[in-house]
Amino acid sequence: MDRRDFFKTMLATPLLAPLLLASKTTKNDCELYLIADDPQLFIPFLLKELQKFAVPYGRNFTLLNSHPMEKDLKQILFQTGWRYAQKPLQADLCFSFSRLRHKALPSFTLVRDGRIWDIRFQKLDSLWREMKKNRKLSSCLTIASFKKTRLDLQAGKYVSIYKDGRRIERVSLDEYFARSFNTLRGKITARVKDGKAWVSESSCRQKICIYSPPVSLAGERIICAPNHFLLEIQGTHTIDTVIG
């Protein structure tokens, strides 16, 4: 994305500074600024591309103020599987509308955490170029705000150690702990220090457990299959299980 063009357009409006500041402080994951008199033509493609970046989480949208193309926008969103949410709090995606003081070439920009998102290597770039080439000057600015989808998981409180499917130890993560356990296939040593737990020695062949980085977040775990050994961090967490 050509930053100069974006700033030139946005500086023509009184919106830039408050928008960048807002994206730093609000609970939005990402904001899409679209300058186009007919946003419904571009929104479905933009949403599809954004989905590749795990944005957004759900499929509910709402409109925060009245939009000149409201009817068309809603229709195209319904057709692409979006549902209308009456309350902004229930929406994963909120649209708002602003009239530009000076008309500008159609274009769009993505802002995440107060920074402009570089889209040069994505399909989005070709859409952006096409928009600028073929469209007449527009005065309609549509802002699509995606609710924050990122999770803040908490640090765990305890580490539970399981051998042969049974819990054999429960240690506070605040403690210093180092112990070796005899297993059917040999021996394994678990350690806890500074709120983190890890496996420091193991008689297993592949040593995957030793290469696993120390764990500290509730729900995280280290598994040593040959030793039938599981080390799991416990605490208030939203994770039921882990894959990968």
Partner: protein
């Protein structure tokens, strides 16, 4: 007569109520497919025992037919899974291939002698790769000499599908089975929400993000599960069947969809393929969370609820 009937109904009702009241969450871990398998299900203690028996039976059968070194090429379970593997082989243009066993052996992943083989040895091994070289005659798979099968990229998912289906059939309405990186979950979690499945970060501790799903399978293939480093290069166990070298363009691929078997096979196919979108077009009910070799997070195909921690 009426009194007897009332007593009978009362006893029956008490039994049903009692059975419901004793339902609780049960967890267990067992060792299958060379990994620790976690099971969490909501049921009565007696049903939990039946469930454990079912799971052990199914996983033992999978182990007998599909563990490394098994040379069963004619039982119906093997022929059935072979057809499913062949379908993914064709749809992925060979990115998923169960004949890569000779590469795993050559690179020393099977006997702890990990090393980078000589290029001419890799070229020779490639001659024994390609599922189209296998023929089926009179209900038996005919393999070219020296070809071996590696069911590791599909059998675990298959076993999980069979086991979870068996548990659902005996009336267990909520739970999950997680064998290493492959999982199936159904019903609601203990908080009456969809199951929250953390996906391990491929490069550091913590999670890549959390999936919130139910009645779905998920499987992850990563370059961090089994690997060795030589001259500063990471060589892992997911091979590109065309080159004979570990596939390089991704760090991890998680596939979500209705069948764990397909999630399992597709996670390998997408990991290897240079064009994962094209493969997913053939599987509209499946979606993928991908971390490319630069660490960028991408989501392709059908979108399932996923919250990133990046």
């Amino acid at each position: 007569m009426a009194k007897k009937l009332t007593t009978f109904l009362f006893v029956l009702l008490s039994l049903i109520v009692n059975c419901r009241l004793t339902e609780k969450w049960h967890t267990s871990t067992i060792l299958v497919f060379d990994t620790v398998c976690e099971i969490e299900i909501f049921c009565s203690p007696s049903k939990f025992k039946s469930a454990q028996k079912e799971i052990n039976q199914i996983f033992s059968e999978i182990d007998v037919h599909f563990s490394p070194g098994s040379e069963d090429y004619s039982s119906s379970i093997v022929l059935n899974l072979f057809q499913r593997a062949l379908e993914v082989y064709h749809n992925s243009k060979g990115s998923f291939d169960i004949t890569v066993a000779s590469l795993s052996r050559l690179w020393g992943f099977l006997d702890k002698s990990s090393h980078v083989p000589a290029p001419h040895d890799i070229q020779s091994a490639l001659e024994y790769i390609g599922m189209e070289k296998i023929e089926e005659e009179n209900g038996t798979l005919i393999l070219p000499p020296a070809m071996k099968l590696d069911w590791g990229g599909i059998a675990k998912g298959f076993g999980i599908d069979l086991a979870s289906q068996a548990l659902i059939e005996i009336g267990i309405a909520r739970g999950f089975i997680n064998a290493g990186g492959d999982l199936y979950c159904w019903g609601k979690n203990p908080d009456h929400q969809p199951w929250n499945i953390g996906i391990k970060h491929p490069r550091r501790s913590g999670f890549l993000g959390v999936l919130s799903i139910s009645h779905l399978g998920a499987a992850t293939t990563g370059d961090y599960q089994r690997y060795f480093e030589a001259n500063g290069v990471r060589y892992h166990h997911v091979f590109n069947p065309r080159t004979g070298y570990p596939a390089q363009s991704k760090q991890s691929v998680t596939v979500i969809g209705p069948e764990t078997l397909l999630c399992d096979a597709l996670s390998t196919a997408l990991f290897v393929s240079q064009n994962p979108e094209e493969i997913l077009e053939k599987y509209p009910d499946y979606g993928a969370i991908i971390v490319d070799s630069d660490g960028n997070l991408l989501s392709l195909g059908k979108a399932y609820p996923f919250r990133s921690m990046e």
